[in-house]
Symmetry: C2
């Protein structure tokens, strides 16, 4: 399998990208990697490792798209950026997958504009996997589409279900609609209309799911517009870190006994942190595009990149793209 | 001050309502309470206590509006419900404030339709106070208005600022817009348009606030549409309870040392739970109505009701209503 990697994407690029890539090459024999970025910088990183050189191609790219640039404008202007070069490798068919930890906006816009959508998908969606108390769950969409129509959310549901089912060997994957009440008639214009459409679908639609229930992780795939989905994702991150922070604050101002208690509980907190560690997951798939697209976290380290590559492999091998294509062909 | 209390609102009504009311009567000499509900049931509860009888009026009401009923329909049909009777006491001018722990939908619709809006306020908003790591913060709106126009959010900001400033003696109260990115041009149609309007206002507008930052509690008043606000509120609740649940799960399956650690840390967790205890706060003010309206939590106990009464008193005494009125008069 040939994968294009944006060598300059993320806070620790190209060091972390190359580190993860080399790890993945060791682990998976059938892997070939095309890495984009300034040739000299990438080579300097690669120089540190022993790796099978015939499986790595450096594609020179002199520019980088920054997070604060306007996505579409930047894509147009910076033709020689690491992200555009990686996208071109996929759009020409040279590679089957793309991974980037760079500007989310530019990556998502680029996947849609340069690689293209699957027939029948109006809006591709970013769909991270998150850790819940009872199990993993997926939220579609978390920011690619901030203003949505009900039909988009139905497409999100179909893609999410296919991905979740294939990746986690899940049976009867449950799909829920993020809403502010459980009753049928609750919600805003979008969720009320979407509810009616989802009820007509054949999959296991469990109805409205209140945000209070989301962290339980009892519903596998949650669909929502990108604004609310992004709010869910970021509230989850913010709550987790601030709650742990508040516990720390209290411990700091507490008795020696509480401090001893905290010491004894360290392994428990550590295990919890592993559950919340995005590096274990890889990245978030961008579903609905005609190729395997993985958005890695901006602060990805080597391990996170390695896992993003592993995820891209499974995404391909489990036939998710063709499953989405045939599901969409059915709808037409 | 005369306060109308829905005697049948909440999971523990009328027991908890009467308990809180009697406590408040003891604490505040200038208080008179009108309590609505089936006369015999309310009397049976009151019979348990010593209290100044001349300061309590029971207003008989034979019906109760349930949470699953359609708010506006129920208000029209159940003229003899405890909630409608309490609303009437305020609309006729008999009472200056209303407190209910009953159906949120019916209460909010009733406040708007029966009591009426302050001139210049298009949509009243529900605005709870929440505990953050660095301080209390307020979210306006958390569910009264699921589909909003930018102008509504500007009104939410003005009301929220006035309430926060008056209740917490806060100076230079900061106002933020809940959004999925900090940059000016980020967001959906609603937030982009709202951002421009808020920037022109005279108060301390700190710009977009990402949900990740909300639990920090560094911004005093956060404005958002009711759908996103409700998502923020419920994610906060859900994350807090599930994170503590996940810690418990881990402790349960851990060594005896971790269990001892948990025991030593109990006071820390207890202090944290107090911070998160809505019973300390009272209820959420419903801002923009021509009277003091407090929505108490459905599971309120006696203490929560007492604190909701205390809150209604401060709301009145600190002149928040007239401050909102004169602010709105300025706008016209």
């Amino acid at each position: 399998m040939k994968i294009a990697i944006d060598g300059m994407g993320g806070d620790h690029a190209p060091r972390a990208v190359v580190e993860g890539m080399v790890q993945a090459l060791k682990e998976y024999n059938d892997l070939e990697i095309y890495i984009t970025g300034p040739k000299d910088k990438i080579e300097a990183e690669l120089f540190k490792y022993n790796y099978s050189k015939e499986r790595v191609t450096i594609v020179n790219a002199t520019e980088v798209i920054e997070a604060n640039e306007h996505p579409v404008m930047a894509l147009r202007k910076k033709k020689d950026s690491s992200i555009v070069k990686a996208l071109n490798l996929v759009s020409t068919g040279e590679c089957e997958a793309i991974i980037s930890a760079g500007s989310t906006g530019a990556f998502l816009a680029g996947c849609t504009l340069i690689i293209g959508r699957i027939k029948g998908i109006e809006r591709p969606a970013l769909a991270p996997i998150m850790p819940g108390r009872r199990g993993k769950f997926m939220v579609v969409d978390v920011g690619a589409n901030v203003d949505c129509k009900p039909e988009y959310l139905v497409q999100f549901a179909k893609m999410g279900k296919i991905y979740y089912e294939a990746m986690f060997d899940s049976k009867n994957t449950s799909v829920g609609l993020v809403n502010i009440g459980v009753e049928d008639e609750k919600g805003n214009e979008l969720t009320k209309a979407t509810y009616k459409l989802l009820k007509e679908e054949e999959f296991n639609f469990v109805g409205n799911v209140e945000p209070r229930e989301i962290p339980k992780g009892e519903v596998n795939v949650l669909v929502t517009d990108g604004f609310v989905g992004n709010t869910v994702l970021k509230m989850y991150e913010g709550c987790a870190s601030n709650l742990l922070g508040m516990i720390k604050d209290e411990i700091y101002s507490s008795s020696i006994f509480a401090k001893l208690g905290a010491l004894l509980l360290k392994p428990v907190f550590k295990k919890l942190m592993v559950k919340f560690d995005y590096k274990e997951v890889g990245g978030a798939p961008f579903l609905g595009v005609k190729a395997v697209c993985i958005k890695a976290h901006g602060s990805s380290d080597g391990k996170a990149f390695k896992n993003a590559i592993k995820q891209a492999k499974s995404f391909k091998e489990r036939g998710i793209l063709s499953k989405i294509e045939s599901e969409m062909a059915k709808t037409k």
